[in-house]
Subunit: 703 residues, 2 copies
């Protein structure tokens, strides 16, 4: 019984992650929360975040309940649908818990980080960073515990022939939450941000984060919602999906020691977690005061450590293998995992290059701002599109490399190699999520330091921390998009496997397949447009509310009375949930409709088309948004005339256009792709039922 | 010998088209060219157009010569490469001649149209419209004469087994010219337009078309370059490609009377030409003064007449068929052609809906302009993306419908049915090109009427003609994109046919195929970005030149001395040719590289990916550009405060962003797709050579 030992390693590492998350949470809470004013503002943010989570989770629970009932009746009609339902509920619940924990700690860490800045930059960094680590570790912990325990129980009780299939339910649960947290959170955060800027900054000349602005708290809450809960649930989603995809693809390995290779992805993730934890402790001991060095250095460190530890992991696994070909194959998989994580870093670099203020693209966008609003937009738009090419080459190279290496070591195992590359890319997800969650904590800390009157020196310190977070974000965002895409590519192969192997392939020369591909390519464009329009519509409501408050109660502007923050939070919250209806339809009903009307090959092409164009739109929108943002910041640093000039105004236009690009649509496309892929894989039994094909044949659609 | 009879019909109809084009050209030239001032301005435009054509054709001839030598050595190594070279030269030469004729007449018609407006709106319309018809008829004439005579000679001399294969060379010649005329023309026109606006309007407050603006003539030349030569060569390209695709696919028909069905696409086009000509004469007799009714009514009329004449055409063809299944199949193809042209109309309607000032999208964009530059951009961007969905459904329905009908009538003939739908869609291309070429004639006429001081009444008349041209343009642009896409889909099947039928299909589950698809999806994004950046870079040079002229010679601004128009035309011309290098590489070398490195299936996926994402980008960019343009015009009509307000400024930003979208990148994607598809089909022999596969295998790329 060698298998339980390996599973136990994964389970224990998951528990370790949760314990560390709770330890870091306790440590952060013990820090000095600062003066009364700071605590007051932090309290507003915390209560706003609580409101958002409560309202969202209420609807989310209804949604999850509805889907779980559908799962009970609609998938793989037979004895295991209840198991799918249970794992689905566990996946959703786990993701909700991790998101809740990360948010609660994040909104308490901000004022503590601000206060810590009075001690020094390293101290300020630590409070922010360990605050962020809570989300990073919680995500990994929940995922590892969930996947390994379901695998173990399912294997031990032998309720299903392949435990991986019911882990699909777990993964789908994580995806449902990601849909709400990422898309809904993305709408929330930009509704508040754009609304606050349009009235507060533009009409009343209030500075950023001014507490007289009724939407200022919603804006701060939004940062946490987007970059802690949103990004966390998104990467949780991709992480679990990459593991599931690899597990499902062990079916392609044939006579090789299947069970070991089914557990391998979980084990690689455990060792990735160790790499992240070692990286975190090295950062703690690292004697440097430059926060961006700490953040990015931490990522590179975790990458290097992971590559080493993955070798240890493979070495451990080979102890259980007897066949020399199996052993050779295991080492080939180490190369695949290494290719995966390295390509993640390369993709992150290209995002960094295209959005950094000291590189040509962003610099040229800033220069274009001298020629007015339109040229700024054209320039950012073009560089965003150009920026798709290098990471596309990176992703293609990772996919091709992993396929070739795995196929070379064991004929037919190429797609499993791709899945392992995706797992490798996501292995240090604890580091990636921690870096991302660090961002809003510093951002809020900066505002709180200003409101709490901690002095210029402290604000400058907080500023440095904040700007490091922005730089790190470019890399983590590129990483997240690359990882999600490699994962959904692996899921595409899992889907094909679950659909009976698709012996005819997904042949683009078959018109029904071509129809699927066509609609798939269109889907991310439609999805992006709907999210951007949602932000625009909601921000309009926010604008009206802010104006109403200023007009009805002039004492808000003089600072004598507090604005009604909750009303703004309420608008952003409700709007973000209402606007989720259409995106949910696209991501869940669209693939089901294609599958039923045109069959599995067409659905495979739909997924393929969506993955490819989703990659283009996600990278383009994230990078052009990031570049506009940094071009504006560079001008605000006093370049090209600095603040208040026409050039600056044009740069602000770029930044405002970029806001929903980079924080709503762009990154939400990841979630869309994962949800669609999982929906297709989970409901595949439905699409294989002949009855639908006859139905479609009658109406002349099934070609 | 029934075949020569049918071919003779096509040949005669082609000759008829050329004769009519020359007749219309002579009639337009006989009109009164107006007063001296008008003739002076028209003279500048004509000489500018001549300069552009001379410089462009010089480079184009070198390019064509280079490609023709490559053709001699690189394709299907064997006895027919010289035939490819000759047909290539004929195709390129024919397209160049048609473009030259259309341009020369267009730039002479403008002042005559302005003068005609003094007589009345109907007279003004006629001069502009018949001026445009010259291009429309020349395109169709050259295409029909070229295709039918090559087919006849090749068949009679029996130099090749399938005459269609050497017509590919003719089609590729047309594509090479389209690449220069459409992409280069698109860069030229927006360089001049944006440059003139940025300095003349924004810095010196000169009105549009003010002759003191050194770029004003280049701007007027640009309109002709983009909408006469560019659009004409683009549709010439699609038109011939659709005929060739259908001819090549007769190979899939099996035992059915192949030769008749190889000639059928040419014959359908002849009857389409008759429909267009009848439509043109009905417009002439139509007693209405509303130009948009005449233009759009003309399109619908030609559509209806074509559906009837296509039945006559099929009836004629059935006289040569003996087998009842063949006859049934012929009638099924009539349905395919009808489906094709109707879906073209539907796609045109959706473009019209999304860009018309009295419909929700454009109206909402105008309203969004009240909230500033950024919201205007976000709104137009989102509606542009949304607007992709309805035409995608239309195209998918046309493709699926045509496939199913043809396949139902004759098993295995589905893809031929798709090609016939594309031919049907393009059958009334004479009408489409005429409507498009009408636009710049009126636009220039309006400016000339103003400069020639013909009075407010005449200017208002010219304005009405101009605005009808803009409305018609939305429909023709949608039509052109839809037709190009259906054509390249048909070409994809022809490519597969030429590549030995691809018995394994283009299977997305094969990683090397997936790589092709990935790079294919990215290609149009890259292409768009490069063109937009080219416009931006070139417009910058134009801005500097205009400023230099105003600074060095203050008498230009007072009107005492004429500006140096030629210098501006020179900048736009040279820049547009220089910036063509990259787009040419993408469209020709990219597919060749993919084919050599990864083989034919991967190249097929590359084409498929490019077609799908190209459709998304082409529709999105054209429609958002059109909507921004019309939102601005609606505001300029006095709505939401009218000209000079902040709302108007925001709308201008939208329009300026939209300019290169709708007139450079968006429509150029059509050309990109056709060139790439033809390159792949023409060089397919190269990709089938085993030597490359071994080479790629060694470097580990050929999976």
């Amino acid at each position: 019984m060698e298998v339980p030992l390996l599973i136990i390693i994964a389970l224990i590492s998951g528990i370790l992650a949760i314990l560390l998350a709770l330890l870091f949470a306790r440590n952060v809470m013990k820090e000095d929360p600062g003066n009364e004013k700071m605590q007051e503002i932090s309290g507003y943010i915390a209560s706003g975040a609580k409101t958002f989570i409560e309202v969202q989770y209420k609807i989310l629970i209804l949604f999850v309940a509805g889907i779980s009932i559908i799962l009970l009746f609609a998938i793989k009609p037979g004895e295991y649908s209840w198991a799918h339902m249970i794992t689905y509920l566990i996946g959703a619940g786990g993701s909700m818990w991790a998101g809740w924990l990360g948010m609660i700690v994040g909104v308490k860490a901000n004022t503590r980080a601000a206060q810590a800045c009075t001690v020094g930059i390293k101290k300020g960094f630590e409070v922010s960073f360990f605050g962020g680590c809570v989300m990073g570790l919680a995500v990994v912990g929940v995922a590892l515990i969930g996947v390994s325990s379901i695998y173990w129980i399912a294997g031990a009780t032998e309720i299903v022939s392949d435990p991986a299939t019911i882990i699909l339910g777990f993964s789908f649960g994580a995806s449902s939450v990601a849909l709400f947290a990422k898309c809904g959170g993305g709408i929330f955060t930009k509704t508040a941000d754009v609304g606050a800027d349009l009235v507060g900054k533009a009409e009343y000349n209030l500075p950023e984060d001014d507490p007289r602005n009724p939407a200022s708290i919603a804006d701060n809450v939004g940062d946490n919602v987007g970059d802690i809960a949103g990004m966390g649930s998104d990467l949780f989603d991709s992480y679990v999906a990459s593991i599931v995809a690899a597990m499902l693809l062990t079916g392609t390995l044939g006579v090789i020691a299947g069970e070991i290779f089914a557990i391998l992805p979980i084990l690689i993730c455990s060792f990735g977690l160790f790499a992240s934890i070692i990286g975190i402790y090295i950062i703690k001991m690292w004697k440097t005061d430059i926060p961006s060095k700490l953040l990015n250095g931490g990522t590179y460190l975790a990458t290097a450590i992971f590559i080493g530890l993955a070798a240890v992991c493979i070495g451990l696994v080979t102890l259980f293998l007897t066949d020399s070909e199996d052993i050779r194959f295991a080492w080939a998989l180490w190369v695949c995992a290494t290719v995966g994580i390295l390509s993640g870093v390369v993709i992150g670099w290209t995002s960094d290059y295209f959005t950094r203020e000291d590189k040509t693209p962003t610099r040229n966008i800033a220069l274009a701002a001298q020629e007015g609003h339109a040229v700024t937009i054209l320039s950012g738009f073009s560089y965003g599109l150009l920026s798709v090419f290098p990471p596309a080459l990176g992703l293609v190279a990772a996919m091709a490399g992993a396929y070739w290496i795995a196929d070379f070591a064991h004929a037919g195992a190429g797609v499993y190699g791709i899945a392992i590359a995706a797992v490798g890319m996501l292995s240090i997800v604890a580091t990636i999520v921690s870096n991302d969650a660090y961002g809003p904590i510093c951002d809020n800390a900066r505002g709180i330091a200003e409101q709490g009157a901690l002095g210029d020196e402290v604000i400058r310190t907080a500023d440095k921390l904040d700007s490091a977070g922005n730089t790190a974000k470019a890399i983590t965002k590129g990483f997240a998009i690359g990882a999600a895409n490699l994962t959904v590519l692996a899921l595409l192969f899992s889907f094909a496997q679950e659909a009976g192997g698709l012996p005819q392939g997904i042949n683009l020369l078959n018109p029904s397949v071509l129809i699927g591909a066509f609609l798939g390519v269109v889907a991310p464009a439609l999805f992006s447009a709907i999210l951007v329009l949602a932000v625009q519509r909601n921000a309009g409501k926010m604008v009206n509310e802010i104006r109403r408050q200023f007009e009805e109660n002039p004492k808000i502007l003089t600072g004598e009375e507090a604005a009604d923050f909750n009303k703004c939070i309420d608008i952003a919250t409700k709007g973000s949930i209402k606007e989720l209806i259409f995106p949910s339809i696209i991501s869940i009903l669209f693939p089901i409709a294609i599958g039923i009307l045109f069959g599995v090959a067409s659905l495979g092409a739909f997924l393929g088309g969506a993955i490819l164009s989703g990659f283009v739109f996600a990278i383009f929108m994230s990078n052009s948004g990031g570049a506009w943002d940094n071009a504006k910041k560079w001008i605000e640093d006093g370049n090209l005339g600095g603040k208040g000039t026409e050039t600056h105004k044009a740069a602000i236009t770029g930044d405002t256009v970029g806001d929903p690009f980079k924080d709503t649509s762009g990154p939400s496309i990841n979630t869309l792709l994962v949800v669609m892929s999982l929906t297709a894989t989970l409901f595949v039994g439905l699409f294989l039922l002949e009855i639908f094909h006859y139905g479609a044949g009658i109406i002349g659609f099934y070609l």
